[in-house]
């Protein structure tokens, strides 16, 4: 499916690879066709902010890989998260979010969405009682990451989904670290998934993109908490999205309102790169995981490494959970602590030669970063502590190089840091 879903030879030219349809707009058959497209009577493309043929192939393939009904591609992973929130609630809404998530997610929820009247409560993802207790009458969404960033905690998706569903709200999972190759959250009860497609889906560090996937399983009508999906919407002549789109109601509202009005659409050039990334997702992830396991083995034995956070490591609190949710491997991101604290960590980062020091993950190249001074830099000390981000924590995203080269590079850097 990562190669063939949504793709077929071009009926006009015979081109086997999905072309880049670099066109803002698409010609109508006649005025009646135009009117029917605008009134959502027939499917098709109008304007590339709302949909585009190249982007649609990426979207459909992502929906297929995640096992959903539809997806909406966005300009970035952050845009996908914002799209989900803005589609499901307005001012007065409330989100319960895991503390072990990307710093950008925490910023968006704690500071930016709060400015628009949407409040958030952050909880330890393993504390299920705290999650349940954080839910308010105004809660409209629970959010967590399959593998938490950067602490490598694994979310018990099934248990958290049950808590969400008991409160008649959906669970949104950031599946960026795992990709659908390693974990399909819908099979464990999640209702919505989003990705920073920039990472492993692209795989090559070339494009910024995101995607929101709708499982089609959440009962919006039964919940009765989501008027954006179940009440008449004046902007489309009082359309009722659940009545009209059935299981794909949420994705439809996200596209026809969210992309139309917020405009955070993906470009067809980006979609082309992401489609190519998906075509090799499985083999790449297998190699990412194999390399990561070799690096973890090395770090566990190194005298200058205090601890290693990777869900497959003996003693990791989520090891058995990872074995259940991530049987093919727990991804290619890990964290470790260096003896000597923050200063030693700084010297390690400045001593590596194969690893690249930058703010990204999921590249063919191996990457290294110090979260406390970069990705989580905007967070206070208290927020860092709550998120489990130690001052000396170093995060690695293990690439596809020869693992022995990676081990040699890390070994040299650790030695240099302790001269």
């Amino acid at each position: 499916m990562s190669i063939h879903a949504a793709s077929r030879p071009d009926p006009v030219t015979g081109a086997r690879v999905t072309p880049i349809y670099r066109s803002t707009s698409f010609v109508f058959d006649d005025t009646a066709h135009a009117a029917s497209l605008f009134n959502l009577e027939v499917p098709g493309h109008i304007y590339s902010r709302i949909s585009n043929p190249t982007v649609a192939v990426f979207e459909e393939r992502m929906a297929a890989l995640e096992g959903g009904v539809a997806s909406v591609a966005t300009a970035s992973g952050q845009a996908a998260l914002h799209l989900a929130i803005a589609t499901l609630m307005g001012a007065g809404g409330h989100v319960v979010c895991s503390q072990s998530v990307y710093g950008g997610t925490i910023n968006l929820l704690a500071h930016t969405m709060a400015r628009f009247g949407i409040e958030s409560t952050f909880v330890q993802p393993a504390d299920h009682a705290a999650i349940a207790a954080a839910i308010r009458p105004t809660t409209r969404l629970l959010i967590g990451e399959t593998i938490g960033n950067p602490t490598m905690t694994v979310l018990d998706i099934e248990a958290v989904a049950a808590i969400a569903h008991a409160a008649r709200v959906p669970l949104l999972i950031d599946n960026t670290f795992a990709t659908p190759y390693l974990c399909r959250p819908f099979e464990h009860g999640a209702d919505l998934v989003f990705h920073s497609a920039t990472k492993f889906i692209s795989g090559h560090g070339t494009v910024i993109g995101g995607v929101l996937v709708d499982s089609g399983r959440f009962d919006w009508e039964g919940s009765a908490l989501f008027p954006t999906l179940t009440d008449p919407y004046p902007a489309y002549h009082d359309i009722d999205f659940v009545d009209e789109f059935g299981p794909a109601a949420m994705a439809a509202r996200a596209r026809f309102e969210g992309l139309r009005d917020f405009g955070a659409a993906m470009s067809p050039d980006t979609a082309f790169a992401l489609i190519q990334g998906l075509e090799t997702l499985g083999p790449r992830m297998d190699r990412h995981v194999a390399n990561t396991r070799r690096v973890v083995e090395f770090l566990l034995e190194d005298e200058f490494v205090e601890w290693v956070a990777y869900p497959e490591v003996p003693g990791h609190p989520d090891r058995s959970l990872a074995a259940r949710l991530l049987p093919k491997g727990a991804g290619a991101v890990l964290a470790f602590g260096v003896t000597g604290g923050r200063e030693a960590g700084r010297r390690v980062i400045e001593s590596v030669e194969v690893f690249s020091h930058l703010a990204n993950i999921g590249d063919v190249r191996s990457l290294i970063i110090h979260p406390a001074s970069t990705t989580h830099q905007q967070m206070s000390d208290a927020e860092l502590e709550a998120a489990g981000v130690a001052q000396g924590l170093i995060r690695l995203s293990v690439g596809l190089e020869d693992p022995e080269d990676l081990i040699a590079d890390l070994g040299r850097a650790l030695r240099r840091a302790h001269r």
């Binding site: 949504a6 077929r8 089609g216 059935g246």
Partner: protein, 273 residues
């Protein structure tokens, strides 16, 4: 909207069209274990084409109350009761899969109430594999997977449908999951026990059969036998599988409109296609 039929509330989706129009009344009837959402691409288009569309959730399906009806004959009679509840004197009935059998029976029960039939995913019989029947009876998700695999064939195998971002195998699975454990097993039994070929000669209303060329649930040969057995029936073909209405929504829309215009012109079918 909700209407009462036989003392039970029934959900009908009308596609958001204007109610005060003079055009044909069109009732869309879903297949086994499904609901009105399988017609999502046809209902709104019909409702804005000068006609009034009623995509119904059969009893025990979707948002309708009650238990699923046990056989096709009962479904056929129930649809006439639905027309009474809607105060519709004559309607075009469009049925997919089990729905095609149901509307055939309606036309036999009350031909004067039927302006025409459009059948999609139809055949002279619909034998159900014992393995599928057993899985459906046990509420086993395997039943959903089997139907999806056999229904999204041909152009639907790898997707690439006209609706941006939609993965129709997922849509088909979600709709069927709602019927699993509630209606699917009863419906499959009803399909298995019905002999459409035996009643076809009694159909006395204009009939248009849309055959899906890659249909593995009701193969083209079965559709052709039904077409040849219904007096004056005509037909057309779309390049899709059993869930053509999801996988090739625009083509199915076009063929439905052809059928409606055929009935609305008052012409009695004479050709076979």
């Amino acid at each position: 909207m909700m209407v009462g039929v036989d003392g039970r509330q029934v959900f009908i989706h009308t596609g958001g069209g204007p109610a005060e129009v003079e055009g044909s009344r069109v009732v869309l009837v879903h297949g086994a274990g499904m609901d009105h959402t399988v017609w999502r691409y046809q209902t709104r288009a019909l409702a804005h084409s000068g006609r009034v569309a009623y995509a119904v959730d059969l009893p025990g399906h979707g948002r309708s109350e009650g238990e699923p009806l046990p056989d096709i004959e009962a479904l056929g009679r129930w649809l006439i009761g639905l027309l009474d509840a809607l105060e519709v004197e004559r309607a075009v009935l469009i049925g997919h899969s089990m729905g095609s059998f149901a509307v055939l029976e309606s036309s036999i029960a009350a031909p004067d109430r039927i302006k025409g039939l459009i059948l999609l995913g139809a055949g002279d019989a619909m034998p159900v594999h014992p393995g599928l029947m057993a899985a459906a009876g046990a509420g086993d998700h395997l039943a959903v997977e089997l139907i999806v695999a056999w229904s999204h064939t041909g152009s639907g195998r790898f997707g690439s449908n006209a609706d941006p971002g939609s993965w129709q195998q997922g849509t088909g699975a979600r709709i069927l999951e709602r019927g699993l454990g509630r209606s699917l097993a009863v419906d499959l039994q009803a399909c298995h026990g019905y002999d459409a070929g035996a009643v076809a000669a009694s159909v006395a209303v204009p009939t248009w059969i849309i055959t899906a060329s890659d249909d593995r649930m009701t193969p083209p040969a079965a559709a052709r036998r039904l077409l040849e057995a219904i007096p004056g029936a005509v037909g057309s073909t779309v390049p899709a599988g059993h869930f053509a209405l999801l996988d090739c929504p625009r083509l199915v829309q076009v063929e439905i409109v052809k059928g409606l215009e055929h009935f609305e012109s008052g012409a009695r079918a004479t050709a076979r296609g």
